[in-house]
Amino acid sequence: MDTQQEPRKTFVVPIGPQHPALKEPGHFEITVDGEIVTAATVRLGYVHRGIEKGVEQRNWAQAMYMLERICGICSHVHATAYALGVEALAGVQAPPRAQAIRVLVAELERVHSHLLWLGVAAHEGGFDTLFMYSWRDREMIMDVLEGLTGNRVNYSCNVLGGVKFDVDDTQADAIRRAVDFLEPRTHHYLKVVTTDETLIGRTRNVGKMTFLEAETLGTVGPTARASGVPRDIRVDSPYAAYPDFPVKTITATAGDLEAKFVVRIQELFESYRVIREILDKLPAGDLAVRVKPRVPPGETVSRVEAPRGELFYFLKSAGGPNPDRVKVRTPSLCNWGSVLATAPGHKLADVPMLIAGIDPCFSCNDRLVTVRRRSTAETWTWAKLRQYGIEYYR
């Protein structure tokens, strides 16, 4: 029998790891005191695939295809980060046309990723109309990417030393048409997320993170920029063709969920501008240079800006045909801490939106924590929690 003095009774709501509504496995334990969240933990690792070890058994070229499969949404940036790193170790540089095509695909990927997020976040807030519209529009980009690369995901655009395919005039026109269609739509979405009363009720002043918090929690990408922390690798340390096609850092100051919407949507305009600029000024020349199968010994760090923030690669070569070590640190991992830190004090009904706010990618970061406390528990599905949030605000 328990003779210890019971602390104030709290209630843990465990969610997941398997649930039909959230597309990827993750287990959350939300401790609540009445309606208010007092602690939040998450245990990931359900889709850990041992890729860092796997690439050590493969040669330099094969490793890229494996790394590209870390994430299905932002696969291209993984391959780009890796290819840029290997090229730095090998002492070669991809030709300017290849670098421009890398950036072109990266920005198209950012557009598709941000539109996907817009739909997911709207869905978690119960705004399914916005979800349907934004995903319909996202199909334009998916079609463009399929026409360009042959694939809707895992575009496999990079090779070590360059890219695999060219962009011809027909494809360029298709991309321009898609962007011309999306730009006014995006203006409309910006208006919706800043004026729609119901959505604002779920986003304004929710999940507020100050500049200092965002900085000290080590957040990256739009999550940091929504709190005014100007971290963008495309600007801080331009790579590939970004020195020739510079982007502007988009920041907001509010740090709440609404700011995260606004920052991501405004980044879309920046992406559209860069896409058009690249199509207009695509440098002529070769698509790839040769990279020898054995990479000279050395170490390098390669950083790129994924749709979710800084993607960090550390590569080490021992001079052999295989990488000696590949370390991947994805942006979602940095941003989890911000959810766990901001959730306490919020209502349970806000939690789905808070989690969706960082645009989490489970396959990317699959890692983390669980603190178990003795208490009564009832398992909710993600669908139930989402429904609870919508009902609560009805």
């Binding site: 690792g45 070890k53 801080d236 070590r325 890692r367 983390l368």
Partner: protein, 171 residues
Amino acid sequence: MDLEQTVVAAETLLKPFTVGAPSREVSRIDVVIRRADLPAAVKALVDARWGYLAAITGLDHPWPKPKPGAKPAEPPAEPVGPIEDRLEALYQFVNGALVATLRVSVTYHDARVPSICSIIPSATLYERELHEMFGIIVEGTPDTGRLLLPDDWPDHTYPLRKSFKGLNRAV
């Protein structure tokens, strides 16, 4: 602040802890520090608000394999070279375009580093990953539970060490 100033700032902050000369590339500076100095060096960077911790990378440098025919060399009790026969933890800080790496080496039989969670709380994930994958014990880290590996993974089996070739599980 331009790149050169950032480099100078990092070098100045880390100078008291640096063992030997720092190595430099265009956008990278690596300093080797002693294990005991790690928290102080991290604190120096954090107090000066020099960038943020981007990653902790583990490395395994096993004793080189003997050449065929040669008599296998006995690994010395104490590590001799800067990298052979030891584990290394790389604390990578990022400021703008620059990556500053604090390199800490430990031997296999004494694979311990102090935790930096009291200075950077969000490092807990990186430290747990370091322990799980490389078997470097992070002393004083708040949480030592399983992070990435399955619950039934055998103890003292560290998959990112070079000696790990797979689990011999009965099928």
